[in-house]
């Protein structure tokens, strides 16, 4: 019983990270129909921004040593700027391009960022100790929950709440929802397209920063490709949740986190190495049962 509870907490914590990453991907997909492969690299940048550029194996924290009230805004600003630059240089000229072209363009952005990190920081993974005090466990009866997991879950809930309030209660949020529903119609009604898309990139960058800080303090290692697996699970989460639906992205993120942790915990020993294979088989199964995702959106239904 305690074992199961423990696994559920793990699942909620991992699912939170996937849900945050999936929100960042889903937001851009909703408005731009862009499957942004570079999202994982935004996450990597958030982590690498904390340390001093060098080829050393042990990372020297730089921004990472600042007080968190100053550090979080600074890192967020860096990631948001990178996201906005990639929009301005690559995605803005491609507004009318087809989905595959957009996807490959984001692949190219991701390739450039990854190799840029490689050039400045070297290819080897680095150890970094961010917020070391947070792994102290808190006991709920017999249940041991690391403080960090609680922070991850709470931070995710807060961010999701803030995003919901922003989308429902502010005029910019309403513009973004309108753009996601029908981009051209929204433009006819006076929504500035490039502004809304820039806003989406900025929010996507903020979400990526949250993921990178939480993820880095959990794993303690940096590598130029650290964001890739997160982004991959995030795509999968957005698609099975229902492409274009933010609720779907969150549901998908938590579902994927749940499946991964449960496979890790309950697969027989000799099959555990194949965990990801089982997880992705599960993804294919969901797609076959519900091709439009768990939460269906009207925007994606093709009318004849």
């Amino acid at each position: 019983m305690i074992g199961l509870l423990q696994n559920l907490v793990d699942a909620a914590s991992l699912g939170s990270l996937y849900a945050l990453a999936a929100l960042g991907v889903g937001l851009l997909f909703g408005i731009l129909r862009l499957v942004n492969f570079a999202h994982g690299d935004f996450i990597s940048i958030g982590a690498y921004a904390l340390i001093v550029p060098s080829f050393e194996v042990t990372a020297q924290l730089f921004i990472g040593t600042w007080n968190w009230t100053l550090m979080i805004p600074t890192v967020t600003l860096i990631v948001v700027i990178v996201a906005l630059i990639s929009d301005a240089l690559v995605f803005r000229p491609l507004r009318r391009a087809s989905a595959p072209t957009l996807m490959i363009a984001s692949f190219a952005v991701s390739y450039v960022i990854q190799n840029g990190i490689l050039m400045i920081y070297g290819a080897r993974p680095k150890a970094a100790n961010l917020w070391a005090g947070l792994d102290t466990p808190i006991m709920f009866g017999e249940l041991r929950v690391p403080l960090l997991q609680i922070i991850t879950i709470v931070a995710t809930l807060v961010l999701m709440g803030a995003l919901t309030l922003f989308l429902k209660r502010t005029s910019y949020g309403v513009m973004m929802r309108a753009a996601a529903e029908d981009f051209r119609m929204a433009q006819y009604l006076g929504v500035r397209g490039d502004f809304v898309i820039g806003l989406a990139f900025a929010i996507s960058g903020m979400l990526a920063t949250a993921v990178s800080l939480l993820y880095l303090s959990q794993t303690g290692t940096l590598s130029p490709t650290m964001g890739v697996p997160l982004a991959l699970f995030a795509f999968v989460a957005t698609v099975i949740g229902g492409m274009g639906s933010l609720v779907g992205a969150v549901v998908g993120g938590f579902l994927v986190g749940f499946v991964v942790i449960m496979l890790q915990a309950y697969l027989p020993e000799e099959l555990r190495a194949f965990r990801d294979a089982f997880a992705f088989t599960f993804v294919i199964l969901i797609l076959l049962i519900r091709p439009a995702g768990i939460i269906r959106t009207r925007a994606l239904v093709e009318r004849v």
Binding site: T101, I104, A105, F107, V112, M243, A277, I284, L288
Partner: protein
């Protein structure tokens, strides 16, 4: 056959003819070059086969597939199981069935086996996922790639896992690769102008209209998927016999990226685009590689910093996509050069409209 029929046959297969001649000419010129040039050209030809295989599915069906490099992995390993020295296999690959573990087969049967296994897997997978369209289909193929990578990197007794398969005979040079590349071009082009190819293209342009005109969309997609997986599987087998060593991670995201990028840069909609993309991207990579290695200016060796090759490739690709979003060829085949000028203008006007 009357002369007129000959002419129309030449005209029908004109793009194929031109592409085959151009590729053969490139290889013929390169074969005069250095050892290093031969290696580059062989790798280019193998990638050409992969991209042509991927094109055959993506270009005709309109579904972006991330999974084809997975078929390459399957083909490469299957062929290596056949040609690697049996004593090594008995030591390292204890999970292989006896007929593979105890025997050693020739290169051609091994390549055929690689293609066949890839096709078989594609048949099973495709039967399940070919009814998915658009983004759902793409993500399903991506999930397949991740499954293949996870299985092949962890199934120690069959793939030697992370310690990789070594001692695959390196028998593939430029001319072997050329023969297979020409074969792939022929298969892809003949499919594209066949009944099935046209039906598939119709379903790409308007799925609902195609269905209502009695096109069995799932069936024609499946045919294209299986044949293209076989082509890519063969390319994987060749790649294994070119590298001499196999690791599952060779066949993952970066190769997927490079091959898809080649296709998109050239133009997803035409075979000419696939070939153009491969040649252009290879050229760009080579130029950047030489710049990175450095060139003498006076007494000093001027060179770009490490990693600028990859960054440069990314930037060049982004630039091509920004300025030619539908690829260098804009999805057109090599045009028939003997059309009267007036008629050509009319056709161009019709295409533009």
């Amino acid at each position: 056959m009357p002369p007129k029929a000959h002419a129309s046959l030449v005209r029908r297969y004109w793009p194929l003819l031109v592409l085959c001649i151009v590729i053969t000419a490139i290889v013929a010129i390169a074969s005069l070059g250095s050892e290093e040039m031969q290696v580059t050209i062989t790798e280019m030809l193998i990638r050409l086969i992969v991209v042509v295989g991927i094109y055959m599915f993506i270009g005709n069906s309109g579904i972006l597939s991330f999974g084809h490099v997975g078929f390459m992995c399957i083909g490469a390993y299957a062929a290596a199981w056949a040609t690697v020295d049996p004593t090594w296999k008995q030591m390292m690959l204890t999970g292989l069935p006896d007929f593979l573990q105890l025997n050693q087969y020739g290169f051609l049967p091994a390549v055929a086996g690689g293609g066949a296994l890839a096709g078989l897997v594609a048949l099973v997978l495709g039967a399940a996922i070919m009814r998915l369209s658009g983004i759902a289909g793409s993500i399903a193929t991506f999930a397949f790639l991740a499954i293949v990578n996870s299985v092949y990197s962890n199934w120690e007794s069959v793939t030697a896992g992370t310690s990789s398969i070594i001692g695959v005979p390196t028998v593939v040079g430029p001319f072997v690769a050329l023969a297979f590349a020409l074969g792939a071009l022929v298969v892809a082009f003949v499919f594209q102008v066949s009944r099935f190819g046209l039906m598939l293209r119709a379903s790409r342009d308007d799925e609902v209209a195609a269905k209502s005109s009695a096109v069995g969309v799932v069936k024609v997609r499946l045919i294209a998927f299986v044949v293209s997986a076989m082509i890519v599987g063969v390319a994987g087998a060749l790649y294994g016999h070119f590298l001499g060593i196999l690791t599952a991670d060779t066949f993952y995201l970066s190769l997927t990226f490079v091959t898809l990028a080649m296709l998109v840069v050239g133009g997803v909609g035409s075979l000419t685009g696939a070939v153009t993309g491969v040649v252009v991207v290879t050229l760009v990579v080579e130029v950047l590689r030489h710049l990175e290695a450095g060139f003498p200016v006076g007494a000093t060796n001027v060179h770009l910093p490490q990693g600028s090759q990859e960054i440069g490739l990314g930037i060049v690709m982004a630039l091509i996509m920004v300025f030619r979003p539908s690829g260098l060829t804009r999805g057109r085949e090599v045009p028939w050069p003997f059309t009267p000028a007036a008629q050509r203008r009319k056709m161009q006007a019709a295409q533009a409209g």
